[in-house]
């Protein structure tokens, strides 16, 4: 006869015995952790985990911003694009297209987009721009470096990520036509494990988050990619979205954990996963549905950007001491929806989310 008592559940759980060696083994393991490892979040994590974290967390939204940041030409409305960048962060990083160079991240686990995902990418383009993007978001992982970012984002890491993070320039492999300044880094990167920052590395006590939802509240429609983060104009008739919030660091960290998990689920579910491609500044970006930027409070500079894009991709931009780079990922539809919801509910609010869904569905 089956018991009804919760006590029986507790008893059953209590009877699950932890192996005797577990506590001792774990205690020894923790004690033997190198001191620098205990204070450096990113130093010894598995590389694929790093990728996943990067992919997951920030992958979502950074595309549009990155596109705007790195190459205004990619965005049809250049004025709007500039506005976005200005609004999202206090650092304007708009860079002329000819200032952009490309470097590839050297990775052990090359990510290859599966045929199924490739098909998915080419489905349901919301508009011509999205169609262009869909066709393009497939290839290899890449990093886009801007000279502007090199000079302007130096401060970002210093307080947003306090522990020993090597400049990405030392961790990436440059293309043959990459700037000479990167060549030394390329040589060093052959054996060095990439030391990209994690979302975990965010100093949550010294960071703020902005949600930029590209919803035109006047028309109730999505206006991808051209909505300012903050409407500081007194005339708010054209206010697009007020979705700026300053969530507590707890929320921030939790959503990062969620995002990491979400991306891992995507990874496993699809066998493979996201595609990252060499992005060129000629309209390969999909308009963003909304973006989340994580800024350093002290400096006001960006540390990370997450873009969720109209074509269902997620773009993560990481700002390091020396460069900024971004990657584009293609989660499953379910995972993308999960990220949408998580981002909105953590960094925005329920009303925004409902408006967003309504606008997205065309209601």
């Amino acid at each position: 006869m089956m018991s009804k008592s919760i006590k029986q559940y507790k008893d059953a759980m209590d009877n699950i015995r932890i192996s005797e060696s577990f506590l001792k083994r774990t205690e020894n393991l923790l004690k033997e952790l190198p001191e620098n490892e205990t204070v450096t979040v990113s130093s010894k994590k598995p590389q694929n985990l790093r990728h996943i974290i990067l992919a997951a967390g920030l992958g979502a939204a950074a595309c549009i911003t990155a596109a705007v940041t790195l190459s205004p030409a990619m965005v049809k409305d250049e004025i709007a694009a500039t506005d976005i960048v200005t609004e999202v962060t206090s650092v304007t990083e708009v860079t002329a297209p000819n200032e952009t160079v490309y470097i590839d991240i050297e990775r052990d686990d090359q990510i290859i987009i599966p045929a199924a995902d490739a098909e998915l990418l080419e489905k349901d383009p919301p508009d011509e721009t999205a169609a262009e993007t869909n066709a393009d978001v497939t290839v290899t992982e890449s990093v886009v470096v801007t000279e502007k970012a090199v000079t302007e984002s130096v401060v970002v890491t210093e307080s947003a990520v306090t522990e020993s993070v090597k400049p990405v320039a030392e961790e990436v492999k440059t293309d043959s036509d990459t700037a000479p300044a990167q060549e030394t880094a390329e040589e060093e990167s052959v054996e060095a494990e990439p030391q990209l920052r994690y979302l975990y590395d965010i100093d949550f006590s010294n960071a703020e988050v902005e949600l930029v939802a590209y919803i035109n509240s006047a028309s109730g429609t999505l206006t991808p990619g051209d909505a300012p983060a903050v409407d500081d104009d007194e005339d708010d008739d054209e206010a697009v979205d007020e979705g700026v919030s300053s969530p507590s660091e707890k929320k921030m960290e939790m959503v990062i954990l969620d995002t990491e998990a979400a991306e891992k689920l995507v990874t496993a579910a699809a066998d493979i996963i996201y595609s990252s491609e060499e992005i060129v500044p000629d309209g390969r970006y999909s308009p963003a549905l909304f973006a989340v930027s994580i800024n350093n409070i002290t400096t006001g500079n960006k540390a990370f950007e997450i873009y969720l894009n109209e074509n269902g991709t997620v773009t993560l931009t990481v700002f390091t001491n020396t460069i900024s780079f971004f990657e584009v990922y293609k989660p499953t539809e379910e995972k993308f929806a999960l990220l949408e919801r998580a981002m909105f509910l953590y960094f925005g609010n329920a009303e925004e989310y409902e408006s967003y869904l309504a606008a997205k569905s065309g209601e």
Partner: protein
């Protein structure tokens, strides 16, 4: 349940490690077990969680935050484990029982295990709140912080979870 102020130790010290192990290891393993249903995997995950905790590199602002972080990380790592490519093998509950449970004579294991089996068969969204609430004794507010939902939502999930359990078990699930 815990005298936090007295028990807390300086982050990163050996005392802290012992404190964390003493306070959280069982909770982590059991919570992870509700996902992976294999004690060996649950222990591995617990170890990963504790490693992540130490690698975090900075103390938590409060015990509540520390607890929420640890349990959230446990949940995420458990999910990740289940989704990982090399974990396709499923361990039957019977096998898990054989591996992990004590004598049935002493503990009326049959009935207990049926209850546990019913709980573990719940969808994750119900199972985790049920486990945290009934086994670990966390409040609805604490669970809300851990799983990132509103307290009202947690209450709803608990209620629905209990309803599911009543359907699964003859006579229902008595939470008294």
């Amino acid at each position: 349940m815990h005298n936090d102020a007295e028990n807390r130790r300086e982050y990163g010290t050996e005392d802290y490690i012992r404190y964390v192990l003493d306070r959280y290891s069982n909770t982590i393993v059991k919570l992870s077990y509700t996902y992976v249903q294999n004690i060996c995997d649950a222990e591995d995950i617990a170890q990963d969680v504790l490693l992540a905790l130490m690698r975090r590199g900075k103390p938590f602002e409060s015990d509540d935050y520390e607890k929420a972080w640890i349990l959230r990380t446990t949940i995420n790592k458990s999910k990740n484990h289940l989704k990982s490519g090399w974990v396709k093998r499923t361990v039957s509950f019977t096998e898990a029982e054989e591996n992990n449970l004590k004598s049935a004579d002493e503990l009326n294991a049959d009935e207990e295990n049926q209850v546990m089996e019913a709980v573990l068969s719940l969808p994750e969204k119900y199972r985790t709140p049920i486990h945290l609430f009934y086994y670990d004794g966390y409040s609805i507010n604490e669970i809300a912080a851990i799983i990132g939902k509103k307290p009202a939502t947690v209450g709803t999930l608990l209620a629905r979870g209990r309803t599911r359990l009543k359907e699964l078990m003859i006579g229902g699930f008595d939470d008294e």
